[in-house]
Symmetry: C2
């Protein structure tokens, strides 16, 4: 849903397709949902520095192959990665000019009240859930922007503004202007 | 015009009113168009570090008094200063967390063609005008964002996006989130 809405707004960016060694589920299409590869192929990609980021969960690898990201960037389009914090850290190292947006849970106090009102969880479970949310928020410090994920359409608008605004940053456009000056002088 | 349009879009920011020692012109209102003060009063403000930025043109001072800027910021609203590059440099020193947006002339090559087509200026005059535009663009490196001032309504939209997006920067909101975590734990 979020993905569909964003793609509707931005025609000049593309979601990255992840690579995985897990088996495709019914209906999943290679190259659209994932690039489905063998363990040996994935490990070759790692060895040859062809993964922008990756992680291993249980027995499978998941990650972002560099090739398609670079292809899209070379076409002058933005690439969006929807990834976990450890993946983001790897991308930050390889792409220091990337833009890192952290999706935050809505207000924690409100979240607690909502769960308490529902009355299905005991206090210990709620505490654990709050601890998890708090730990997540602490990761925010490693990101550039924080977007509250309260309502999907609002979150989409905020991300849209960030992307468009980042395109106006001087350190991203100065080269172009300097060339323009050179061309008319 | 630009000012009116921006104020229409953003209800939670305020244009700063400058202070000057020049005499009010017919129709100008003290506190709306400028704060009209004596030379002695302006120099007192300078001496007491009460000017965010200032400059002297011919026989008059022009500048931004700190007092009203701080008042507006304390109310939780943004302050917009529309100032020259030297003023901006002074503000950057005093407010490193300010956001600096450079309004650029449209494409220089196009500008040159337009002037040449008009045929009212000789080549030397056009060269001089191009040099001036090029020199201005070089100042861009000291700013955070560059907004092309081609059409007022588009420029307004770009500035709007920058302001809203800057409010989502982690270094501006992290404190608030950390307090929130503290409050529920």
């Amino acid at each position: 849903m979020r993905q569909a809405m964003l793609e509707d707004e931005f025609r000049d960016f593309q979601y990255s397709v992840s690579m995985t060694t897990r088996k495709p589920r019914p209906g999943e299409v290679n190259g659209r949902d994932y690039y489905f590869v063998s363990k040996a192929e994935f490990e070759d990609n790692i060895k040859n520095d062809q993964m922008l980021e990756y992680a291993r969960y249980v027995d499978n690898y998941y990650g972002t192959p560099l090739k398609y990201v670079n292809q899209t960037l070379d076409e002058g389009r933005d690439v969006l990665l929807e990834i976990e914090v450890n993946g983001a850290r790897q991308v930050r190292e390889k792409c220091p000019d990337g833009v890192f947006i952290f999706l935050t849970p809505p207000d924690l106090g409100e979240l607690r009240q909502r769960i308490e009102k529902r009355g299905t969880d005991d206090e210990a479970t709620i505490d654990k859930r709050m601890d998890k949310a708090a730990a997540e928020i602490k990761m925010m410090a490693h990101y550039d922007y924080a977007v509250v994920n309260d309502q999907v359409d609002l979150a989409v608008q905020r991300i849209e503004k960030i992307i468009e605004s980042e395109h106006l940053r001087v350190d991203r456009v100065l080269d172009r202007y300097e060339k323009m000056i050179g061309a008319v002088k």
